[in-house]
Amino acid sequence: MSIDRAGNDVLVTDPESATRSLLEVTDLRVYFASARQRVHAVNGLSYRLQAGRMLAIVGESGSGKSVSARALLGLLPHTAQVSGSVRFDGTELVGLPEREMRRRRGADIAMVFQDPARSLNPTMRIGTQITEAVRAHSDLDRNAARDRAVELLRLVRLAAPQRRFFEYPHQLSGGMRQRVMIAIALAASPRLLVADEATTALDVTTQAQIMELLLELQQRLGMAVIMITHDLGLAASYAQDVIVMYAGRAVEYAQASTLFTRVRMPYTRALLGALPQLEREPHTLLPVIPGQPPDLSALPAGCPFRPRCDAASDDCATAPPFAEHEPGHWWACWHPAEETSQDGASR
């Protein structure tokens, strides 16, 4: 492996590590190989998720958040090389035969994608599509599966489910289509739902509705949720735990309430500072950091954020370990910001 793996092999342990985790991801690595280069999308990601919690994975484009989530379900193209371990309820998912993976996909872990219009079949009635998902995971007969599908539509609070059952995707609004996608994802009662930018394509008012729905389902069904988003505000508003990713690794992890009030990692601080805020005065310049996200085919040694970080020093040529520096608060940085409220960072 060409990249530095020092320090990243540390296992994430939760404060309540006595309780068994639903999902344990350990040193997950994904690279895409072509004839010319290797793109290292995920570089040693480790985290644990307890049943029934909502975890947000935030990061910019190319931070590896989506690739790492797809790796959980084995949904990567065959050019992807996956190593490390993903244990779901004690079962190792990495390297599982496709047949076995297929059985578990949807039943254990289900996924909702960004674009509901492209995830639904435009030529099939939505009821048929949900019924198909129900029957793929159970031996219900046609009528029972149909009843279950209507029930699912009701669960996701689609207005007039009996009528909508016979409609096509184009007859539905973006928000309604995303509700249908969630209904399909819930068809086999998964214990973990992965929502990959599930509200990004939606308007703010619809986004708030869908997030409320996910939160309600998480609580009612006791389901764990991983929400993948580039929107820190969204993560802060809904998730219980937050992982910030940069260049394929986790750089900061804590409960949302801790993370956003006591930011330690300079990268997280930069992200928060660059966020337009309703409270900010108009025509003020935003605090920006220079440079571009790193090239994943030629990652520098040491801390990947080093070239853009104003706290960087010679120490940063060695990759900082991602470790629990304070109870429940993990970060990977040699020079964490002093503990202040986020006040200073965002002004």
Partner: protein, 339 residues
Amino acid sequence: MTAVDQLLSVRNVEQRFTARGTGGLKSGVVHAVSNVSFDIRAGETLGVVGETGSGKSTLARAILQSPRPQSGEVVFEGAELTRLRRRALVAARKNLQMVFQDPFGSLNPRWRVTDLVEEPLAGFGVRGVARRQARVRELLELVGLDPDTHGRRRPRELSGGQCQRVAIARALALNPALIICDEAVSSLDVLIQAQVLNLFEQLRRELGVSYLFISHDLALVRQVSDRVAVMHLGQLVEIGPAQGLYQRPLHPYTAALLDSIPGLDPVTGRARRPAPLPGEPPSPLHPPSGCRFRTRCPLAQQRCADEEPALRELAPGQQVACHFPLDQQGSPFRDAKAS
């Protein structure tokens, strides 16, 4: 009719599209922009917010006369654009430029960056290769690109943020008085987005450019705008100074939009949990009678169905189209959430 210091005056602009019903789709007339009027003063930035289908982009294109609006007036720098013939319109557009959402889609993929930026200069008769090339260098430096390294590249060899800078350099090439930004930073990651927003701000300070800044992101619009207009289903429902409109929205729809934004309180770092607006947005083919927001409005009464509310000024410079505007206490949604 319009004051001298107005850079752009839009009066009663209407844009309708006939939707033909094929393949089971409903047919009818979409009122994409209905009776919209506003002004932009020289050096001022007007933000336009609204959800998908509210007519923001159609409005921007109606200003550029591409396509021309069905009725209404667009006066830019004293010229009535809707009456201008082809040639005169092209000349007027020199000072009226646009930056689009998708930087890759708006740049010819086969051209080099220098050629892309030179094109408007050549098109508007800046004579002499040397003069044009000098101007291209100047423009690229202005938008924070290195003419020597980035100049020879093609769009696919650049990142999204860099492409957007090229698009901005093109828009700036002819020293426009007004730049229309249609979701110009929406596709960029937050750190790059901040860089581009700062660039817009620097250009405003240094060159006195005005902007019509269209976005669905209310926090972003707040950051750049002097005044903000809120659109809903083709209509202007509220317009006013950014400060007042965000602190004390008068239209229930503005309040609902503000309450839908997830975010962080910058002082405490605590999260703001949005209060969702119930229901689905109405179809633009069959908008509700009277006030088009009434089907989702918690304050709607019979009068809202019977009578279409007109814009009226309720606070200094702040106009609202609502029969029952919110009072000093603010949003009905927010009140419920605070308790």
